[in-house]
Symmetry: C2
Subunit: 372 residues, 2 copies
């Protein structure tokens, strides 16, 4: 058992603040990611919050400021539950770092994402009680976690457009996979913004502010922005991230694995982001000349990824397997990882590739003999 009740097979990138991703094997266990294997992305230490004294403040461009206890949230609003995938904007950054280093950023593999069932109330119901004023266009969220990487240190914060904030899928969640939210995942209350980068699902939520403009905090105005390859991070530089871009990766076999020649099951995930869904996943073993369609597994609703699988017949030898997902706009992923490199290493959604060596029993024995 790792820290915070996490399984030992998490890949820990940083101990303080705690940053750890789910291993491929744990992701492949099923479409719902177990809480004890779910990734954690934090910019500050887990804050100590007394739930009895905690209040959610709602202010800014509202008709009526609110100050709500957990009890009031539970009693005054309809409880909702939904299944949603969260994905860090830095998911698969390791692929970009292999091309050119990105100092100061964690080398996330494909496990900075996961899918859980979230319970709480709709943010929109709470905002309706507050009454957005006509000049309100964005909802900004502020957590209790102090983040030293913004200098001077800032509480983690971020915003989403008010139109999205009022849609029924945006939750103020107090439970994850049917259990009370763990401290490391934002207890007592976090935002869950389905279809948006994980950074907008602010943990340890303390304040919601309606504003005419997006948050001017560090994590919206400086970080979590996509720069051109030759760009320099700075206030307002680059495009703000929000909607998750179509992405996919392979969960099994692992890159570099040896497998038995013959039928080989390949599994992975695909996530469309935004309001889109995964429409198709293609797999090629000949460098993209011909593509076969993978089977899409459990449909957990409009806000969740789709896991997929396909059985390939692999002749003995080395193979490169390439994947491309398609979303409901019939858009697919870009090919070239190198051309996606950017100074902060966000949004690597290039088509994933793995290399496997297919061997026969004979070869395995031979190789066994050679190494003995």
């Amino acid at each position: 058992m790792s820290r915070y009740g996490k399984r030992a097979d998490l890949i820990v990138h940083e101990h303080e603040p705690f940053n750890a991703e789910t291993g491929l094997a744990a992701l492949a266990e099923g479409a719902l990611t177990p809480t004890d294997a779910f990734y954690v992305r934090a910019h500050g230490a887990v804050p100590h919050i007394d739930p009895a004294r905690w209040r959610l403040r709602v202010g800014g461009a509202v008709e009526r400021e609110l100050r709500l206890s957990l009890e009031t949230l539970r009693e005054a609003f309809r409880e909702r539950e939904l299944t949603a995938t969260l994905q860090c904007a830095g998911n698969r950054r390791a692929g970009l770092m292999a091309i050119r280093d990105i100092p100061g950023e964690a080398p996330w593999g494909p496990g900075a994402t996961g899918t859980a069932t979230w319970s709480g109330v709709a943010l929109g119901d709470v905002l309706a009680l507050a009454g957005p004023r006509p000049d309100a266009s964005h909802a900004a969220f502020e957590g209790a976690d102090l983040c030293p990487e913004a200098r001077p240190a800032q509480r983690f914060a971020g915003s989403i457009p008010l139109d999205k904030a009022c849609r029924p899928e945006v939750l103020l969640a107090w439970a994850m996979n049917g259990r009370p939210l763990a401290p490391v995942h934002g207890a007592p209350l976090r935002v869950v913004v389905p279809g948006y980068i994980g950074a907008r699902s602010v943990k340890w939520l303390e304040r919601v502010e309606l504003r005419p403009t997006p948050s001017e905090g560090y994590f919206q105005h400086v970080a979590y922005r996509l720069l051109p390859a030759d760009g320099r991070p700075g206030p307002g530089a680059g495009m703000p991230l929000g909607l998750v871009a179509l992405n996919a990766d392979v969960l099994a076999p692992a890159d570099g694995d040896s497998v038995d020649a013959g039928p080989v099951e390949v599994r992975g995930y695909a996530f469309a982001g935004g309001e889109r869904h995964v429409a198709r996943v293609d797999v090629s073993v000949d460098g993209g000349r011909r593509w076969a369609q993978a089977e899409l597994l459990d449909d957990l609703g409009p806000w969740a990824w789709r896991q997929w699988r396909i059985t390939l017949d692999l002749a003995p030898g080395d193979h490169e397997i390439v994947i491309r997902a398609w979303d409901s706009s019939a858009a697919t992923q870009p090919e070239d990882e190198a051309a996606l490199w950017n100074p902060k290493g966000y949004v690597n959604n290039a088509r994933p590739r793995i290399r496997v060596r297919a061997t026969t029993a004979e070869q395995t024995q031979e190789s066994g003999r050679c190494s003995s």
Copy 2:
């Protein structure tokens, strides 16, 4: 002057039914496409409709069936105006046909798209009067045009999800660019579904039907579906098209042009589709190793493309210029046109490439002498 009041520089692919695309020069005139240059995609002859006798019928899964004259639509609902880009799902098919022929389909270039201002009423306001029943999930539209390519011939039809149909941007439009809708563009009334493929903006609208499932008509259930490269068109085969995928193309210079070496202005359009917007357009002259950012021109609102321009400094010689647009999810276009080939030739949104020859005055004179 061409047929239907269209300019002579339209590129006519078919005379009956009339199918014609806008020339690059006309698209490059500005962000709003003049009506007399706007593309036309039809599957049947322009029907003769007497506006005085015409009625819109609204039925299916509704509390109250409606039968509305144009006068009632004008008097009973709030008039709305918005600027929206329409784009045919077959736009840029010519690029796919250059790879492998697609018999029976028109070789659309990049001009099967255009942007206009549309006026009418919100479909959602009309649907609110009809009252969607709980089993209503899709809104199907039927035009008056009989289309022989469905055998037996069918009226053109298609559907969109009810959630989209109720959003305020979906119009029942009677005017285009401030003038009454022309017969060739759907008079007296057409649907305009911003962010969706043009086929859902049904012209010569006569009936709206709320349904539990998508339209089962030919143009939703057989055509306008994306097949794998080795797929066969058939009822329900392939993924239904709806949201437009991120796309872009170059409007000037034209592919194969000779230009003066030195500063060369390159112009084009980019369209994000769905609810996304164009966040950046990159231009490369070295095969995608380095990218410069184009200037995004007039912002005509959330439902319109962005035209863009960049000045490149081209040394004498041959150049290939590659473009990639990015949408607000930080997704960009796929590279390889060949890998997008599909049996019906839809959704070619590969990064556009043009080749130009930059010449000096000396070279031009020499070449002039040679050919004289």
